[in-house]
């Protein structure tokens, strides 16, 4: 009886749909529209079943061009060195990251290149991979434990932030009110950059921070927050942002309010901000060698796979470069050629 009941139910449902030409037409139209609009989108694929070893690359969401550049550089380097790649993003969610580590372990990856989802929350996942015999090569963000990852290669965020802070102070003539946009509170780099900025800015008694808010690295949030801050502090002279997407959001708010004379500086060296600097919009940013770091991680992973050691200390840092209108033309996709 139940089987029969189910069959009739299913048939009825199908009849109902099949007879209705409009449903099919709507479905077909949707598919065609989707094709037309997404034809130019590409997607990376991995070839399964080959004898090549696999390097898994895990980063935050590529929505931020910085992480996109990281992914692309690591993937290109690994493929050039003869590896298969699997690119995943954890969207700053440690739980998702942990599941992606499980994937890497079950696919018997030879190495993991990771830009992690939290300095403390990621330790367990990296340990899990280590226990399974897979070395992790951390890029961009450190974890709060040594001896778990095979390498931690980061840009020197503190050094970069002092460069950014110095330039910001110089642009402000060491005086006036300013606002600071902080990154995601759970990201170590948000804190380190803010400390770096303040190690410089707090030395000038004439400079006063009148507002400090987190915009979670997000462009729209930065836009909305700066619009509001401008209401409370219309006399503001500068905005120092913890990264470039927030600097872009801040600049959009200033542009809308016809206050483009307010000084904005960022951090990352993303192509959009570099372009803005060249058009004298945003005044400065700090370039992180994202591409170089990602490539370094792959090179060291290769050495580790072949020799069982990277031959380098676990913690390595690459210095950042200040980008101003003078040298912005030498920056291309997170690489400085000067």
């Amino acid at each position: 009886m139940p089987a029969k009941h189910n069959r009739i139910h299913w048939r009825e449902a199908m009849n109902g749909f099949g007879r209705d030409r409009r449903s099919w037409r709507a479905l077909a139209a949707t598919c065609m529209l989707a094709f037309a609009l997404f034809a130019c989108g590409t997607s990376s694929t991995t070839t399964g079943g080959s004898a090549k070893k696999l390097i898994v690359i895990i980063t935050p969401s590529p929505d931020n061009v910085f992480f996109k550049a990281e992914q692309d550089a690591a993937q290109a380097k690994a493929q050039a060195m003869g590896y298969d790649t699997l690119v995943l993003s954890h969207d700053d969610d440690p739980t998702k990251q942990s599941q992606e580590f499980d994937t890497a372990i079950s696919r018997k990856a030879a190495a993991i290149v990771l830009d992690n989802a939290g300095a403390d929350a990621s330790i367990a996942a990296v340990q899990k991979a280590k226990d399974a015999g897979i070395p992790s090569f951390l890029i961009d963000r450190e974890i709060n434990k040594t001896g778990v990852a095979a390498a931690q290669i980061v840009s020197n965020n503190y050094q970069g932030a002092t460069l950014g802070g110095q330039q910001f102070a110089k642009l402000m003539n060491q005086s006036g009110n300013y606002a600071e946009l902080l990154g995601k509170p759970t990201d170590t780099n948000a804190g380190i950059r803010s400390q770096g900025y303040h190690s410089i800015l707090d030395q000038y008694p004439g400079m006063k921070m009148v507002a400090q808010q987190s915009a979670n690295w997000d462009q729209t949030q930065a836009l909305n927050i700066v619009q509001t801050i401008l209401q409370a502090h219309p006399d503001i002279k500068g905005i120092i942002a913890g990264n470039d997407t927030m600097a872009l959001g801040a600049y959009a708010a200033l542009k809308g309010a016809n206050k483009t004379n307010v000084i904005v500086t960022g951090f990352d060296g993303s192509p959009d901000v570099v372009a803005s600097i060249l058009q004298s919009g945003i005044k400065a940013t700090v370039l992180q060698p994202a591409a170089a770091i990602a490539e370094q991680a792959v090179v060291q992973a290769d050495a580790y796979i072949k020799n069982g050691s990277t031959g380098k200390p676990e913690k390595q840092s690459l210095d950042c470069v200040l980008v101003t209108p003078d040298n912005a033309s030498k920056v291309n996709n997170f690489t400085f050629s000067g």
Binding site: A26, A29, F38, A39, P62, Q219, T228, L230, Q231, D272
Partner: protein
């Protein structure tokens, strides 16, 4: 009419019979009915004391501009909720609309078959964007009416699908330049998000336009009455000859349309399109509707209430930013206010029951 079915127990007899108490109930009822408006006024008074720049023309415009995005999303959401459904995909639809329109402005539409790249003028791009929203809303509606998927599930699926398509559109990247090029004749996109008419940003005018039209549709047209009927009692609606599926399909298309409008304004204001645009905005839209007195079980609520709800949320979050409260406390306060709104909603229903009983 459901209210009459409630058991009479729990209503103290002396209160039902006492006229003075009854008048008190009526006053209480009025206050509860106007709770969103009262909350808004209280908010404005409190924040005016906390920050001298809160109650200035400039700040009111900035805050209303932020409200406009959520209000437009919430207007569409209200139609859906009135039918007893829910649309979780509005944030993602706003995102995909922004990406498609941004892509058309920045890179044009490549037609490899003809070997050309077509650039559309801004009005056409906006029209395509709005059409995209209607189509995505229509797919939601078809899944719900033809394939009998529960609205929560159908639109949850669309939340992911549309966000994924937004990411695919640019392969995760950002379209940074939406200014257009005068040589291609596609400049002027900043009109809907950045520019002002008579000193008021266009986004706010659009909110007013959407609000007035939606309120008229909901309250004064046969379609509006059918929307309420479907949500009040779907079975009775069917029996009285209303084509329930058609109404449901229409409300999801309206919601998609509103989401697309919000996505376009947001993208224009930012001057850049990125795939994460408007993530979790569906929750703001639902919260605004609920704060404004829309019942999640359908059949009850007004457009004006929803817009006031959006104002409460927007004026509250911006006030907290202005005063300099930390991000974490902002979340706590926002959540508490939403739950409080529903608590008051329940209180209103109880009072209503007392009055009806009398």
């Amino acid at each position: 009419m459901k209210i009459i079915d409630r058991p009479r127990v729990g209503v103290p007899a002396e209160q039902v019979t006492s006229t003075i108490a009854f008048n008190r109930i009526r006053v209480g009822m009025l206050l509860l009915r106007l709770r969103a408006l009262i909350a808004l006024i209280v908010l404005i008074i409190v924040f005016s004391f906390l920050s001298p720049s809160y109650l200035t023309a400039g700040n009111l415009i900035v805050m209303t501009r932020h409200v406009a995005i959520n209000a437009i999303l919430a207007i569409g959401q209200t139609f859906v909720i009135l039918t007893g459904g829910i649309d979780l995909s509005v944030g993602s639809i706003a995102g995909i609309t922004g990406m498609i329109s941004g892509g058309l402005l920045d890179q044009g539409l490549a037609l490899p078959i003809f070997g050309v790249v077509v650039f559309f003028s801004v009005p056409v791009v906006i029209a395509i964007g709005l059409l995209v929203g209607i189509v995505f809303g229509g797919v939601n509606g078809l899944a719900i009416t033809r394939f009998r998927v529960a609205p929560f599930i159908a639109t949850l699926g669309m939340l992911y699908v549309a966000r994924g398509l937004a990411e695919l559109r640019s392969n995760g990247g950002t379209f940074p330049n939406l200014a257009g090029r005068s040589g291609l004749g596609n400049t002027g996109f900043e009109f809907i998000g950045v520019d002002s008419v008579l000193g008021i940003p266009v986004g706010i005018w659009l909110m007013v336009l959407f609000g007035v039209v939606a309120a008229l549709i909901a309250a004064r047209t046969p379609f509006g009455r059918r929307v309420y009927a479907v949500g009040g009692n779907a079975r009775a609606a069917v029996l009285s000859g209303i084509r329930v599926n058609r109404i449901k399909l229409a409300v999801y298309m309206i919601s998609g349309f509103c989401a697309a409008m919000a996505g376009l304004i947001l993208t224009s204001e930012l001057g850049a399109a990125y795939p994460d645009t408007a993530t979790t905005y569906e929750l703001n839209a639902i919260a605004a509707a609920v704060l404004g007195g829309t019942s999640l079980s359908g059949g009850k609520g007004t457009i004006v209430g929803t817009i006031i709800g959006a104002f409460v949320i927007g004026f509250l979050s911006d006030g907290l930013v202005l005063v300099g409260v930390s991000t974490f406390w902002q979340l706590v306060v926002k959540g508490a206010v939403i739950v409080l709104a529903v608590v008051l909603d329940q209180a209103q229903e109880r009072l209503q029951a007392r009055i009806t009983l009398r």
